[in-house]
């Protein structure tokens, strides 16, 4: 015990004096938030549009009114000079140009093909394609409405179409609610494993390990001594991510903060242990770091349900996600954040994480061998 505390004490001093660790713990959440903050804002919302209404008809004004009233696209400029609108797009004042050509109303009434032109700002790929998709869906609906009026088609016979835009555009604008828990999972997983992945390998590379293992210190004392201070760092980092997420993005935390920290503790111990396991097996900092990075980043991004819904994966990959801790942790973080439920709602996930952490720590202890070769 005294020896474990000695290791923890030594490790803490090293962490505090080597600013890289703390810098990483602070910078990583910021980077992740910036990176995925882009995704957070990927909902079509108030995309500035420049419109050229060359028809000046009642119909064209009605079309505009319908187009802009939901608020996803916002009329920023109206001008009949297309060159002017293009300049506006170049300046970044508008992201989309919509042109209603002369004769728009006439062709609508004649059940003719009504022409509408739309151009998007290709440099802003995400909002560009989202607004185009929205616009096309709008046109499809508009077209249906027009058919109804022209030919009296019963719109109840094509109900699927009407619900399309609601699913597609997440009308409640809740994607950030789903993204923030994902960022929390990703950041904690990557940082935890990254920090510890170098810590045992560093002792080997520096040559201190050989002197260390000549002392009566036990493998578990090395392991848990190294684990303790990094739990602290992980929790600091988690606090930072939560603060950024809640205050910057206004994601409400409906559940208990204590529960959030408890399940995060469970998860982070597993991730830290994984880093220690790689570190003690691989013994080379740079490789241990890369392996940890891949082993935590990929599952947390692709197999946790963060980016791709698990239900839409092929059965084999779905089966594989059952051993991905990030999946369980994500479920718990989302539940705590969005539903506000307590442990009763996710005890099975918590048990899984606990078992996972124990297995990893056990394996790591066995892999710290007190021999040089």
């Amino acid at each position: 015990m005294r020896r474990m505390l000695a290791i923890a004490w030594k490790e803490s001093i090293e962490i505090m004096r080597d600013s890289r660790t703390l810098t990483l713990a602070i910078i990583l959440p910021v980077i992740m938030i910036l990176l995925f903050g882009y995704a957070i804002n990927m909902d079509v919302d108030h995309i500035p549009v420049g419109i050229a209404d060359l028809d000046h008809s009642r119909e064209s004004r009605e079309f505009q009114q319908k187009l802009f009233s939901p608020g996803w696209l916002q009329k920023k400029t109206e001008h009949t000079n297309l060159e002017f609108l293009e300049k506006e797009m170049q300046r970044g004042n508008i992201k989309m140009i919509i042109v209603l050509p002369p004769g728009f109303a006439v062709s609508l009434k004649r059940a003719d093909t009504a022409q509408v032109f739309a151009g998007i700002d290709g440099s802003d790929n995400m909002s560009g394609s989202m607004s185009m998709a929205y616009f096309q869906t709008f046109l499809a609906l508009y077209e249906m409405r027009r058919m109804e009026l022209l030919y009296g088609i019963d719109r109840d016979r094509a109900p699927g179409f009407e619900s399309l835009p609601r699913i597609f555009f997440n009308p409640e604008l809740e994607s950030r609610y789903f993204v923030l828990p994902g960022i929390i999972v990703l950041t904690l997983a990557v940082l935890s494993a990254l920090l510890t992945s170098i810590s045992i390998a560093r002792e080997w590379e520096r040559g201190s390990m050989e002197q260390l293992i000549a002392t009566p210190v036990r493998p578990w004392e090395i392991l848990y001594g190294k684990l303790l201070p990094y739990i602290g760092i992980s929790m600091i980092q988690l606090t930072l991510t939560i603060i950024l997420g809640v205050f910057l993005f206004g994601v409400p935390l409906r559940g208990s903060l204590l529960n959030l920290f408890l399940v995060s503790l469970l998860f982070s111990v597993g991730a830290l242990g994984l880093g220690l396991l790689f570190s003690s097996v691989i013994k080379v900092q740079i490789i241990a770091m890369q392996v940890s990075m891949i082993a935590t980043l990929l599952p947390s991004v692709f197999l946790s349900g963060f980016i791709f819904p698990i239900e839409s994966m092929t059965p084999i990959i779905q089966a594989f996600t059952y051993i991905v801790p990030a999946k369980y942790y994500l479920v718990m973080v989302r539940t705590i954040f969005l539903k506000g439920s307590g442990f009763a709602a996710f005890w099975a996930e918590a048990v899984f994480l606990f078992v996972f952490s124990m297995i990893v720590l056990n394996a790591a202890t066995h892999k710290i061998v007190k021999r040089v070769a």
Partner: protein
Amino acid sequence: MSLVAQNLSRHFKKAQAVKNVSLSLQPGEIYALIGPDGAGKTTTLRMLAGVLSPDSGIVEMDGSLLLKDESLRSRLGYMPQAYGLYADLTVTENLYFYGRLQGMKNAELRERSRELLSFVRLDKFPDRRAGALSGGMYKKLAIACAIVHRPQTLILDEPTNGVDPVSRRELWQLLFELSHHGVSIIISTPYMDEAERAHRVGVMMDGTLLAEGTPKVLLSALDGLLLKTEKISAAVLRDILLDHASVYPVGTGVHILSGSETDARKAIKILENKKVASRFQKPGFEDVFMYFSGGGDAGRFRSQP
């Protein structure tokens, strides 16, 4: 007998690094393991320190198997060849860390670190980061860390390598003081001249302990066998080598090491005939090594700085 090793062998892949080495340390004894790079010194010391398992053979401390009893490690101090301290920790913190790993309490450590720092002359820099120490000071701190818990046996792998002559002398002074207090010390060195300062010397090559004894005894084995000449021509060399002597350059001259006194006298005759001046030479440990290794490769020694 504090530390006893019996029939230690160890191989790596195909290479047999250590073959059947047995040695033991008396209390207060300084034992120097000499041999060129790759002789197997580090492998031997690692097995003695319990950080490497032998393929066969045993290491005992005070009659118990070292690898069977972790608590025995508290009686052992070890400084590896590729040792590394914690650069971000201060001098004192490094000492405290190793002391705590050995179960020492703070009060005890306060006293001990003061004492040790003056012992290794680092008392002016207790709060300096280890990473900011000079090479010699860093090494002395490493030794201090190895002895913070007052081990009865000390294993130092090439403690004098890369150290300036002044620090080297200081270092030997430290070793003598420790041995005076009853600490058994085994060191390895590739510098043959250092062997003379040890109480006992083991000559190692190709994984084998070729000879062992006090410096005096080892050197006296060469009595009347060693000649020195200034220069020697190829023709003379051939004539001398017919009598199975080994000839090798040392400093500015050439040493001629004969297998027996008869051979040595023959060599003197040959040299006289060729009008080459020669005289009997007091042997050094390089010659001792040559003698016991049967004229091994002198080029494998590291010359001292």
